[in-house]
């Protein structure tokens, strides 16, 4: 192996192991910044030793042991000057005595780390950055590029997040009882935000940023393994698997977005669909059919099961949106319900629902409202009104590709005129 190949292997191993190493260290040091520093030290040691001595059989255990030894060393040194740390040292010794038990608990440690980095004490964007950094093993530069912001912004966001967690003394644990539901919702929200940022990029010239989708999907799959009894975890996994199955079909040859009903369904990834349907079944078997993510996954599943757009069960989709609106009322859900209703019962029925939303303040600058309304008007032959709506939608979207698509639809209104 050449040095470059070796470094690339070490890099790959680091990405695979870093979350587990940091999580394992948290038991010892209880501070994310410190745990991350120790893990980095272990990586530096690996970069020195592995090219000389060859890859260890179990690189994860090697990194963990190196980092823990370093932690214990540092602590010993500190102890010489500060007797008060006696207590901590004792903690470390008992830990070392239960090495095997710890190995089995690594998964739980990763789960604890996930709950910590998604803690509601942090602002949403801080949760996202910290989770991608700690659980995804992404560098600040990679996160910055994915979110199209300068690297120092992300670096600062992460530093501040770690400080906030330390100041608030957020414990390294999986919440129990009543607290669990709310905290889990925060974890799911972060993963789905990352997925959506990748799936329909809110800014920039690319319609999708696949690396974010892949990362969110990977973290969702991990979470489904670590918290297998939580139905919504499977609901979210199902939703992301099914949406990801369409990734190859929703971008045209020129990079332009292709709408769901216009997609070549042969390009949908059947393996991901199968995985998504299985995850949805698991959510339902756990009694979670009415969870917000499971409901959205069930809607996605309706599309996935239809071999042609004409076979889509729009009545069921409209009913699922109705349940979703009951669970999590929101104008966006209503807007989607309007689309389903229009497909099941015609554009006039859809328009009626959408018109009730035009006074909704939160949708004032949401491009999909005029876009959907324009579509209904177009189908009803009210072309002048439709054109105005498409133009309005185009002026509201921040995505370049989508703007082109909407202006195209506005043009089509003129061309279709008799």
């Amino acid at each position: 192996m050449t040095a470059t190949e070796f470094n690339r292997s070490i890099d790959a191993i680091w990405r695979m192991e870093s979350a587990r190493v940091i999580a394992g260290l948290m038991r010892l040091v209880r501070d994310i910044g410190h745990a991350e520093d120790l893990a980095q030290d272990a990586l530096v040691a690996a970069l020195e030793q592995w090219p000389r001595e060859g890859l260890p059989d179990n690189p994860g255990a090697w990194l963990m042991a190196a980092a823990k030894n370093r932690a214990i060393d540092l602590r010993r040194r500190k102890k010489m000057t500060d007797r008060k740390h006696e207590e901590l040292r004792r903690g470390a010794r008992t830990r070392r005595g239960t090495e095997t038990a710890e190995e089995d608990d690594i998964g739980d440690d990763v789960l604890r780390l996930m709950f910590m980095s998604c803690h509601p004490v942090l602002a949403t964007e801080a949760r996202v950055a910290l989770t991608l950094r700690l659980l995804g093993g992404l560098t600040t530069d990679e996160i910055a590029r994915a979110y199209l912001v300068p690297e120092p912004t992300i670096a600062q966001r992460i530093v501040r997040a770690k400080k906030t967690l330390a100041d608030a003394r957020v414990p390294f644990e999986v919440p129990r009882g009543r607290e669990l539901a709310g905290r889990l919702a925060s974890v799911l929200e972060v993963l789905y935000l990352v997925f959506n940022e990748g799936y329909s990029a809110t800014a920039g010239d690319h319609w999708m940023r696949p690396s974010l989708c892949e990362e969110a999907l990977r973290l969702g799959r991990i979470l489904a393994e670590l918290a297998p009894d939580e139905p919504e975890v499977h609901g979210l996994a199902a939703l992301m698997e099914i949406q990801a199955s369409r990734a190859g079909a929703r971008v045209g040859p020129g990079g332009e977005p292709v709408l769901l009903l216009d997609q070549n369904r042969g390009r949908w990834d059947q393996l991901l669909i199968r995985r998504g349907l299985a995850a949805l079944r698991r959510a339902e078997e756990l009694g979670g059919a009415n969870g917000p993510y499971a409901l959205q996954a069930a809607i996605a599943a309706c599309h996935a099961r239809a071999r042609t757009p004409g076979e889509t069960d729009w009545k069921r989709i409209a009913a699922l949106y109705e349940s979703l609106a009951e669970r999590t009322p929101s104008p966006i859900v209503e807007l989607n319900r309007a689309v389903a209703v229009s497909m099941a019962s015609g554009p006039a029925a859809g328009l009626e629902l959408v018109d009730a939303l035009t006074s909704e303040r939160s949708l004032k600058s949401y491009h999909l409202l005029p876009s959907v309304r324009g579509d209904f008007l177009f189908k009803l032959g009210r072309l002048d009104e439709a054109r105005a709506e498409f133009q309005r939608a185009a002026s509201l979207t921040r995505n370049g590709r989508e703007r082109t698509l909407l202006l195209g639809r506005a043009d089509a209104c003129t061309k279709s005129k008799p």
Binding site: M16, R218, R221, N264, G266
Partner: protein, 140 residues
């Protein structure tokens, strides 16, 4: 990127020998590890070649040949399909694959990257036909 870890056949797999408890639990642990890393996509063991068949071509002529087939080592006994961020990650996962031999001695696995259709078939029309029936990894 998707990779297929292919477990090669052996006298034992061809006999349809059941894995020992130890092997079964090693395999379960490995696949659990893959799943917990979000890297497992699919996987299965295959029946012995005695229950399979081949179709041999010679120009327009085709002949059906029933198993079993010789050269157990050339046969496929099972596979694990993984999602990896890089070739190096896939290499690392393959290094951790347990020795799949039933007797705990010689065995071999082989790892191959899945093509995306665009990589092998230049003609757009033909790609479309494959994709219509859901064959081929999709470009991400």
């Amino acid at each position: 990127m998707r990779f297929m870890i292919i477990v090669k056949g052996s006298k034992e797999t061809e006999r349809g020998a059941k894995p020992t408890n130890r092997l079964a639990s090693e395999m379960a642990a490995y696949h659990e590890e893959l799943a917990k890393a979000g890297a497992l996509l699919d996987g299965s063991g295959l029946h012995p070649s005695a229950r399979g068949w081949r179709v041999q071509y010679s120009g327009a002529r085709r002949t059906l040949v029933d198993g079993p087939f010789a050269e157990a080592k050339e046969l496929v006994a099972g596979y694990t399909l993984i999602q990896a961020k890089s070739r190096e990650e896939a290499v690392e996962w393959s290094r951790r694959f347990p020795n799949p031999s039933v007797d705990g001695r010689e065995a071999e696995i082989e790892v191959r990257q899945l093509y995306e259709l665009e990589e092998i078939i230049p003609d757009n029309g033909v790609i479309g036909r494959f994709q219509k029936i859901g064959i081929g990894a999709k470009k991400k």
